[in-house]
Symmetry: C2
Subunit: 134 residues, 2 copies
């Protein structure tokens, strides 16, 4: 797999495709460190900007998480717990605002479950840790 700078698909999306494939196919496993941005750029022969944009795409997909000064690693999947909807409960999903994300200590690319109860009260849940059933 390599980069074609004359392709219709932008270079950074090709980079994202390659790394995503590595994750989905299991060549990179949850908890694994990715190479540094500089190393990735060297390996693939593209600039840092393209690498950073590619990693941004994968962060937004919830596949990786980056720690400043440390590096980027494949995100581990939290265990889900079951949540049984009660009568009158309504559940929707949306992305958190950036301040919400910080407050709830969520990684990028993780949606919220918004649970509105019959009495009008609202709960915000990390979508990655819950599954809903009737």
């Amino acid at each position: 797999m390599s980069i074609d700078s004359r392709s219709d698909r932008a270079v950074y999306l090709q980079v994202a495709d390659i790394v995503r494939s590595d994750i989905v196919k299991g060549r990179l496993k949850p908890g694994d460190d990715l190479p540094s941005e500089a190393a990735l750029g060297q390996t693939l022969g593209v600039g840092r900007e393209a690498i950073r944009q590619a990693l941004g795409v994968l962060r937004a997909e919830g596949l990786i998480a980056t720690t400043r000064g440390f590096g980027t690693r494949v995100r581990e999947r939290a265990e889900r717990h079951n949540l049984k909807l009660k009568r009158g409960d309504v559940a929707t999903a949306r992305m958190p605002s950036e301040p919400e994300r910080r407050t709830m200590d969520l990684d990028e690319g993780v949606p919220l479950i918004v649970l509105t109860h019959a009495d009008g009260s609202v709960e915000l849940l990390d979508a990655e840790t819950v599954e809903l059933t009737a």
Copy 2:
């Protein structure tokens, strides 16, 4: 509201806060066009990079959508339809991959609802257009 480049909060996050506030408070309404990146940069006295990162944050939150060659506008909320979970259905939420997002023609910042039926079949739904009940 203006930008303090010596603040702890990054310039682009301050820009995002300002524009988000304009949207949440209704100064910018669904369907409204935002000023161009250049105009925003002029108005706020910051470079294009900070503007583009700020808009990237708001896109990831599902608040705005950008069309190349045209501009950026406040997203309109689609109407939700109710989906009643059947016995054996399990619903989770996650972000689409970039190829999924293109295939399903979703804006950035819109999660997927993953509906797994009792027989093992899986449905992917635009999270913005559904609400789940028991």
